[in-house]
Homo-oligomer: 68 residues x 6
């Protein structure tokens, strides 16, 4: 019955297929490493605007404009 | 001064009235069980897209298409 | 399949019975208001040291020493 | 390598410049107080609809309509 | 620069080696699926007491005593 | 009424006084930048074991043993 929260920036058009791979990949990992039951493993993906994500003291928006 | 975070899938048109019932219900529960002060009890409801919520190794979108 | 996180200060000796009432109370509330399935409703309670919880710009430890 | 999550209500038009000040301010604080490396300090800002934020047992939407 | 939070119950003696496999597994998954940079991918594992984790309206402690 | 969660590794003996500076610093920042009321600003600090914190695909425990 694990709960996993994945936070990523909302950019580059993450597809439903890619999200599905994250969900199945994390669920498999928890079964393999800790024998956790997939039926009650919950995965929640949060996509965060680049203005709202900071690293290195500045927003990802600012970094992207500089080409980082 | 508790903090409560409720995460649900964004589907079926949850109304402001239903959200208000969740907020008052949780706040009452914390007052009744632990004598917590409602004035500083915070409740945050997150509605998550069905593509972004996984259970059983697959997204809720996929489950809904199968009728689950 | 909701996920609920309840954060409270670790003080006053919250009992397993009180935690059980929080768990059943929140699960019932989500079933009543939104028809959510209790079988996949997860509730996680975090108890936080009073040094680590701030409100009004100061820690709960400091407030408790003042009698608040 | 700290991780900081700031949750605020989505109202009043918070600007990218204000978010940038939150990000740099929190990152500076962690460097000053705990000598944490800004390069791996992550800050995520969540803006929450006023219907979805409760305090005092009612939503912020209801409070705002009363002028609070 | 993703942030991943994994919550599991504290039981059965999860080892440092198993936690390391969760950390490397999730980091690899985000690189493979979304080309995320491992250097700034953060993974935080929370182990939660079984009294503090609820599913199906009751605590995991109660379920374990029944043999579930 | 913001809610702020600060996650750091549990190492180096963070003192109550340092935590108090984080709490007051973040609360001041939210008042200065967004005019948020300190009376209902909540700050929660989580200290995470170094085995349970990953960055760059490995735990902080492993990095510390290498001198990083």
């Amino acid at each position: 019955m694990p709960y996993v929260n994945i936070k990523i920036t909302r950019e580059g058009g993450v597809t439903a297929e890619q999200k599905a791979r994250l969900i199945s990949g994390v669920t498999d990992l928890l079964r393999e490493v800790l024998n956790k039951n997939p039926a009650t493993t919950i995965v929640v993906i949060d996509e965060v605007e680049t203005d709202n994500w900071g690293i290195g003291g500045e927003s990802v928006s600012v970094r992207r404009r500089r080409g980082q």
